[in-house]
């Protein structure tokens, strides 16, 4: 009996030992790349097969749906987890990840391997790689250029009866809007209209409350009406810039667009809901990040000639669009930093970046996007280029999450819940952000 027990214990011990050793042994050759679960991630899996073949390293992927992406990955970084060797993190995380040494600083590695940030689209370098901003301190390689733009039903716009009715009503052609006012006119025109026997609506816009949705949407209107994050001459001076007259008008415009022209129940919509509404033929236009355009173009119902693309229209205060996209970083806790850096070196090559674009990823390498054939390579390529030229991004401070949550609350309270006025919302936002920056010792 005794020896039986001993043998069983020894067998169990051996089993645990083997599994533990097996796990460690397997990790040595494996690299885990963490990103959001979306179409471009699938393209990256395909692209990475070349790296696996060339390096002998095996790639594993951890993709998290967007609404939980920040929660999951920031938890991972903050808890010192070792899940990710490479992380394609949101642009706003760069400040926190750099200051808390969660990402590996890449300057020396870039210098050694002849990777120059001058070779990438400037806005993506500032947005995805630098911290502090506008200084040559790099924590990521621009991996995926993205920006908020619009998709529209080209086939509906081309209907002669709608063209005639629109011209009669607005004294201009039903065409791609050049200003935010024109955009609202078009959305109003389509709202509640019967097209092909189905009731349709004007536009799907971002209204999501939980993560960053409504901020990513409303900021486009705010930028174009004159909103600024702070005094360009005096950092962190918010009063009069965040709550300027233009900013208030921008928020009022966004609410008016929500009130007049969105489908019923569109009170908590972000990327996927907008895609669904557009692909199911509910809306004439949808606001969304550029990453969706390859999917729309290939869609059986709305793809090809049925859809067109245009950048965020200008407003009275300027012409800007909200930056999306991410850079790829090496996680400081990774046990495979050398292999992870080898991946970045491979990814930065021009032929890999060209292939990235053909597979559906938006390359940020200037030589790829400036190639004469790029603009005509896809129906949305020119819109992508035009949009990337006008980008602005949200705070990338270490306290970005507090700044973001305050913005989400203020915007959703006003735009969707109809609480208070736009002026009160923006004044409240100044108070919230001031509190955050004071806590941070930046004011």
């Amino acid at each position: 009996m005794k020896s039986k027990l001993f043998n069983s214990a020894a067998a169990i011990g051996l089993l645990f030992g083997i599994s533990a050793f097996g796990a460690t042994g397997a990790q040595a050759a494996d690299l885990t790349l963490c990103w959001a679960a979306w179409d471009p991630a699938n393209a990256l899996v395909e692209l990475s097969k070349d790296f696996e073949a060339k390096s002998g390293n095996k790639m594993k992927f951890e993709f998290v749906p967007w609404p939980n992406f920040a929660d999951r990955m920031l938890n991972e970084l903050n808890s010192g987890g070792k899940l990710c060797d490479l992380l394609i993190g949101d642009s706003q995380w760069i400040g926190g990840a750099a200051e808390n040494k969660q990402y590996v600083k890449l300057n020396d590695f870039f210098d050694k391997n002849g990777i120059s940030m001058k070779d990438f689209i400037p806005a993506t370098v500032t947005g995805y790689a630098e911290w502090p901003k506008n200084t040559p301190n790099y924590w990521a390689l621009p991996a995926f250029g993205d920006v908020v733009g619009w998709t529209y039903r080209k086939d509906w716009f081309a209907k002669p009866e709608l063209q005639a009715e629109f011209k009669k009503k607005y004294s201009r052609d039903l065409a791609v809007p050049k200003s935010l006012d024109e955009l609202k006119d078009i959305a109003t025109f389509f709202q509640g209209r019967d097209i092909d026997g189905k009731k349709v609506y004007g536009a799907a816009i971002y209204t999501e409350r939980g993560s960053e949705g409504i901020t990513m949407g409303a900021m486009n209107a705010l930028y174009n009406f004159g909103f600024q994050y702070d005094n360009p001459a005096k950092p962190y001076e918010l009063q009069g810039f965040v709550n300027s007259e233009g900013a208030v008008k921008g928020l009022e415009f966004y609410k008016s667009l929500y009130d007049c022209c969105t489908p019923p129940g569109a009170s908590d919509w972000y990327m996927s809901q907008n895609i669904d509404a557009y692909k199911s033929g509910q809306v004439a236009m949808q606001m969304n990040f550029a990453f969706i355009w390859p999917g729309v173009n290939a869609d059986a119902n709305v793809g090809g000639d049925k859809s067109g693309y245009f950048p965020m229209p200008a407003g009275p205060g300027g012409h800007f669009a909200q930056l999306g996209g991410q850079g790829i970083s090496v996680v400081a806790n990774s046990a495979h930093q050398e292999e992870a850096l080898a991946y970045i070196k491979w990814f930065a090559q021009k032929d890999v970046q060209s292939k990235w674009w053909t597979l559906g990823g938006y390359s940020a390498l200037s030589s790829v996007v400036n190639d004469p054939s790029f603009a005509t390579s896809q129906p949305y390529a020119q819109t992508f280029l035009d949009s990337m030229a006008i980008v602005k991004d949200f705070w990338a401070e270490p306290s970005y999450a507090s700044l973001m949550q305050a913005t989400q609350k203020r915007f959703h309270d006003y735009v969707v819940a109809g609480k208070g006025t736009a002026k009160e919302a923006m004044d409240g936002l100044v108070a919230d952000w001031t509190k955050v920056f004071k806590d941070e010792g930046k004011m």
């Binding site: 929660d71 920031l74 409350r209 129940g265 009170s267 507090s402 609350k409 309270d413 969707v416 109809g418």
Partner: protein, 315 residues
């Protein structure tokens, strides 16, 4: 006579072990059995609680491992208790708590009263009624967002049909006036069966002889209900209220799936607000103080309530 289970266990115990155990007192053996549970309780509940209380007096942020942690005294508590937004979430939670409990008790007790009557298919109906509480709250939340969808949702369709209005003319989870009721309806749908089961246990524990005696005294059904049924079920009802009260005070998953706290902050319960402070804004010290306040509130209210419950049971 065959040996009992204990006798068989005693026989199977190896002699060396038996000898060792024989030398232990009853108290020592009791401690041996209880020790693992106490250890787990200390490790998983008590230690984190003490640690949370400690953190609540600091400005610690878990996402700033390199930053200096400062003792801030009662500052976090002062800020929380003077924050108008937090009081608003408390009000929202109170609204949710009161209405869900009122509805669940009324409907749950009524259903239990009906199910307690002998009729054909009694067991089948009980199983059908209990079905919602077997589902995961996340699934229920997702499922109801579709039911509440203005254009294709069954709920809107039925309401539209009954009231002769356009189903897409109202949005249960997008309208500030309707959203608080939308979460109350779903929670009531899901958890009324739980209250019903507890009430049913209470109803079935009432001896039939009491009713027979009442019949002999020619007491009406109405009188029997008020003087026998309700007083004897009351401790069970109060227990159900306690369980639902504690559960709904910390309600999170269902509401997050349904409304995410919106529109605006209309359905932002304290648990959602606390999660945002702790795991989105990463204000660990501040959110620890917030958690302590909520803990004291629930613990205090529950203690008072349990005392009242014991008094009712003693009657």
């Amino acid at each position: 006579m065959s040996p009992t289970q204990f006798e068989r266990a005693a026989e199977a115990t190896p002699p060396i072990l038996a000898k060792k155990i024989r030398g232990l007192s009853d108290r020592a053996i009791a401690w041996i059995f209880v020790a693992p549970t106490i250890f787990l309780l200390l490790a998983i509940n008590i230690f984190p609680l003490i640690w949370t209380i400690r953190l609540s007096f600091t400005n610690f942020r878990v996402n700033r491992p390199n930053a200096e942690v400062q003792f801030v005294g009662l500052d976090n508590y002062r800020r929380i208790l003077s924050d108008a937004d937090i009081w608003l979430t408390m009000q929202t939670t109170a609204h949710f708590l009161i209405w869900t409990i009122v509805l669940q008790v009324l409907i749950g007790f009524s259903l239990a009263y009906l199910i307690n009557k002998k009729f054909r298919g009694n067991d089948l109906w009980t199983t059908i009624i209990v079905f919602p509480m077997m589902l995961s709250p996340a699934v229920v939340g997702n499922f109801w967002t579709f039911l509440y969808q203005p254009q294709i949702g069954l709920f809107n369709y039925v309401v539209g049909f009954l009231t002769h209005t356009d189903p897409s003319s109202f949005s249960m989870i997008g309208d500030v006036n309707l959203a608080p009721w939308a979460i109350v309806i779903v929670d009531t749908w899901m958890w009324t069966p739980f209250v019903m089961l507890i009430c049913l246990a209470g109803l079935r524990s009432i001896p039939g002889s009491i009713y027979e005696a009442a019949e002999c005294d020619r007491a009406s059904k109405w009188r029997q209900f008020w003087t026998i049924t309700l007083p004897m079920v009351l401790p069970f009802l109060m227990l159900a209220v306690l369980f639902r009260g504690i559960e709904n005070f910390k309600m999170f998953d269902l509401v997050v799936q349904l409304t995410g706290g919106g529109p605006g902050s209309i359905t932002e319960l304290t648990s959602i607000n606390l999660k945002r402070e702790a795991f989105e804004k990463w204000r660990t010290g501040y959110s620890s103080a917030y958690a302590v306040i909520l803990f004291v509130t629930v613990f205090g209210l529950a203690s008072i309530y349990v005392k009242a419950l014991n008094k009712v049971k003693e009657r």
